[in-house]
């Protein structure tokens, strides 16, 4: 019973949150709000998908929010100089994987810790973005922000983008050797190397993917907001980590998946914020709720980890007398 609850905790928690807000407010469970929720959750889902991947390899990407800001600032700057919107978006998006590759190099080849590398990047990228944008907010032309409201087959464009990103990452994760090897890398890098896995290449690709996700998430959010503010993307990496862990990823690596895990986690976080909004909750309550969500995520991670440790107890690697 406990095992069932722990194993299915992500989905059960999402259902509980949805039911809770539906009781709390009659305006929560309406078709209109459902579309809102999906649209608002689109960029968070993309970011959580990338973060899940990094967590699976037992790393973390703290720079995601700052990278979002840098991409947004670059895009805004180009739009202000009358660059074609599509061109601007593509050029700005390229910054994401480039930064990701830089992180990957430092982590995989220089052997730096992911926490330190991406923490440095958190400050560096935001600083670069602020310098770039002269710390002023930028309003974006109508031709760009229109995309956020565009619909295809009745579904808003941001939801399509999130769907495609999730689909691609899901395929990479479950249907390619690279994806499967990432689980081995996260569980025990030394053992993975002994088993013939190219650990460094896997880490490089992982951080490049995470950077690409941050860039796409930035553009998706940008089309909805229509403006770049100096606080754009701030603390989003923590929401993404919370979402990934709520969705079943482990901070200790080797566990988690993009679909359904990261999607469920991101939708849970998005539902909480949307629900509070619909209920007109006191704004001072928000940080408390965020804290509660993060705490719950860590609690689940701890419980799942204990289970994994129990099942792996007999599998420790220890060579008697080798010392």
């Amino acid at each position: 019973m406990t095992r069932f609850l722990v194993n299915h905790s992500p989905a059960l928690l999402l259902v509980a949150v949805l039911i809770g807000f539906s009781i709390g407010s009659p305006r929560f469970l309406t078709p209109q709000n459902a579309v809102n929720l999906l649209t608002q959750g689109a960029s968070a889902t993309i970011l959580a998908a990338g973060m899940t991947w990094v967590l699976v390899t037992s790393g973390v990407d703290l720079s995601a929010g700052s990278l979002m800001f840098l991409v947004a600032a670059a895009c805004g700057k180009m739009l202000q100089s009358d660059v074609e919107p599509l061109m601007a978006a593509v050029a700005a998006a390229a910054i994401g994987p480039l930064c990701g590759v830089a992180h990957g190099m430092l982590i995989a080849y220089a052997g730096a810790s992911p926490f330190i590398v991406t923490l440095a990047s958190l400050f560096l990228l935001r600083g670069a973005g602020l310098w770039f944008s002269r710390t002023r907010a930028m309003n974006l032309p109508e031709a760009f922000s229109r995309w956020g409201a565009e619909k295809l087959l009745g579904v808003p464009l941001p939801v399509w983008v999130a769907g495609v990103v999730v689909l691609v990452l899901y395929w990479l994760q479950t249907h390619t050797a690279f994806g499967r090897q990432c689980y081995a890398v996260g569980y025990d890098p030394a053992a993975a190397r002994k088993a013939g896995v190219h650990v460094r290449a896997a880490l490089m690709k992982t951080y490049a993917l995470s950077g690409a996700c941050a860039a796409i998430a930035a553009l998706t959010a940008l089309t909805q907001l229509g403006a770049v503010s100096p606080t754009f993307g701030k603390d989003r990496e923590f929401d993404a980590i919370a979402a990934a862990v709520l969705g079943g990823a482990s901070l200790f690596g080797g566990r988690g998946n993009v679909f359904p895990g990261a999607v469920i986690g991101a939708m849970t976080v998005a539902s909480v914020f949307n629900g509070l909004n619909v209920m007109n909750a006191n704004p001072y309550v928000y940080p408390l709720i965020t804290a509660a969500v993060v705490f719950l995520a860590m609690l689940f991670d701890g419980l799942r980890r204990r289970q994994l440790v129990q099942s792996a107890r007999t599998m420790r690697w220890n060579v008697e007398g080798a010392r």
Binding site: R180, G196, W317, A322
Partner: protein
């Protein structure tokens, strides 16, 4: 006939201690070689050399007639030598198929060739009689099934020689029977198998030939039919006594310092009771995995008890924790100095003083100078040479061990738990550690001594208790000390003693 594996005069020493002395070994295809010996006889070292974990200092190996000198496990595997370790090397978070083919997953432009992977996995799993869906996560398999996956992995990679290291320790009876059938099958298919085990009856049943190692020397080798269990035990023991153990100078005290009653921890320690008096040494004998170190951890409070009580100097500890037991004057010195004891990059004297800063504080104010003086005096009396401000990692194994002893001597412990205190230290340092232990008991410290060297136990202890599979299975008083009987008891062959 050309043997599959031939080792000639393999030598290996660790920090000057010779653990393999000119060992010869031969194995033909389609044969099983049983490798037996006491703890520390050199079995594991031999296996690590075969598997490319360690290089040999000297000697030559030939695999199918060609020189074989693997520099790492990957090279050994590529040459067709696989080791199935007691603790398996699988990823529980991946499926069976993914574990089998992790480094060579069949690819296609659209991703993994799942059907190919499934079929190839099924094919290999059939060879080890494991009827499981290849997409089952390894976490859901039993230990026995995981072992089969490990064997399947070796077969899939084209192994010619498979080494099993204590494979039955964590298996149930039927699982072990299934493993034996598979080993028979491997032999039938012309693979070579080296089977290392303390289960002597299994070895005699499975092996074509048996090789007995004793103190790193090839003691006996011959067809399994030529051996019986008592004969094997006789060959395993009887190392020459190269130490003079210091005599006790003070009598054993009256006070019971450490008392365990019906202590259990699921899966490792089962209903163990013991008591140690002040100035007494209680030795614990047993084979690897008998639960001795786990018992020490329970007594010290490192792991929670499932049942039973720990009593220290007459005070019952409901929930023992290291903080509480240390306060009662207990100290634990483990075999793994690097992991459990020393702060490798801290200085020698800081390491020595770690547990006794409080004794050198005056109203909360640390008297560093006095503390350092005390450490220096202690280092002097233990003959730890050199400057005390260099990092402890620069000391030899023996001196590192002495630094840990110094830490607890400064605390003046009432009860000391020693887990393999002389593993990996050279002969000279061993003698000094023996003298230290004696000095402590003369001062009234109660000592629980865990050791794999029966000589050490018989030379120092006042009583020796024997553990097997988590239980206390025998106790010998000093008058009844007998190496053969203690070893037979530890191996579960009391009837023969």
């Amino acid at each position: 006939m050309n043997p599959l594996l031939e080792c000639r005069k393999i030598r290996k020493a660790f920090a000057g201690v010779r653990v393999l002395k000119d060992v010869d070994l031969q194995l033909a295809s389609g044969q099983v070689l049983g490798l037996v010996g006491e703890n520390g006889a050199g079995k594991s070292t031999m296996m690590n050399i075969l598997g490319g974990v360690l290089p040999a200092d000297d000697g030559a190996m030939l695999l199918s007639g060609t020189p074989y000198a693997p520099r790492n496990p990957a090279q050994a595997a590529a040459a067709g030598v696989r080791i199935v370790h007691q603790e398996l090397n699988l990823f529980p978070n991946l499926s069976v198929a993914e574990n089998l083919f992790l480094d060579r997953i069949p690819r296609a432009p659209w991703g993994i060739r799942r059907t190919t992977l499934s079929n190839q996995s099924r094919e290999i799993l059939r060879q080890v009689n494991l009827d499981r869906d290849p997409w089952t996560p390894v976490a859901q398999l039993s230990t026995g099934e995981r072992q089969l996956v490990e064997i399947a992995k070796a077969l899939g990679a084209g192994a010619k020689l498979i080494v099993f290291d204590e494979p039955t320790t964590s298996l149930t009876q039927p699982e072990a029977a299934r493993l034996f059938a598979i080993i028979d099958n491997l032999r039938g298919r012309g693979l070579g198998v080296i089977y290392i085990s303390h289960q002597l009856d299994d070895v005699l049943r499975l092996a074509n030939d048996v090789l007995v190692l004793r103190d790193g020397v090839r003691q006996a080798c011959g067809p399994a039919q030529a051996f019986t269990i008592p004969l094997l035990i006789q060959q395993m023991i009887g190392r020459e006594l190269d130490h003079v153990f210091p005599e006790r100078r003070a009598a054993i005290g009256e006070e019971i310092v450490l008392q365990l009653r019906n202590v259990s921890r699921r899966g490792v320690v089962d209903d163990v009771s013991l008591e140690v008096r002040s100035g007494e040494i209680l030795g614990i004998a047993g084979m690897m995995g008998a639960g001795r170190s786990e018992l020490a951890r329970l007594a010290f409070g490192l792991d929670p008890l499932d049942a039973g009580t720990v009593q220290l100097g007459g005070d019952m500890l409901a929930v023992p924790t290291p903080a509480r037991t240390v306060k009662k004057g207990v100290a634990l010195i483990t075999e793994d100095r690097r992991d459990d004891g020393l702060l490798l990059n801290a200085s020698v004297d800081d390491n020595m003083l770690l547990a006794s800063w409080r004794d050198h504080a005056c109203a909360g104010w640390l008297r560093r100078r006095a503390a350092k003086r005390a450490a220096a005096a202690m280092a002097d009396s233990l003959k730890i040479g050199g400057a005390l401000d260099r990092p402890v990692v620069q000391l030899s194994g023996g001196n590192q061990q002495k630094a840990i002893f110094a830490r607890w001597l400064l605390r003046k412990p009432r009860c000391l738990i020693l887990d393999e205190p002389t593993r990996g230290v050279d002969v000279g340092a061993k003698d000094e550690i023996y003298r230290l232990i004696r000095r402590l008991t003369d001062a009234g410290t109660a000592i629980l001594l865990i050791s794999s060297e029966i000589e050490e136990l018989l030379g120092l202890a006042d009583r020796v208790a024997v553990m097997r599979a988590g239980r206390m299975v025998g106790e010998f008083a000093r008058a009844e000390f007998d190496r053969e009987r203690v070893l037979a008891c530890a191996l579960g062959q009391e009837a023969l003693a």
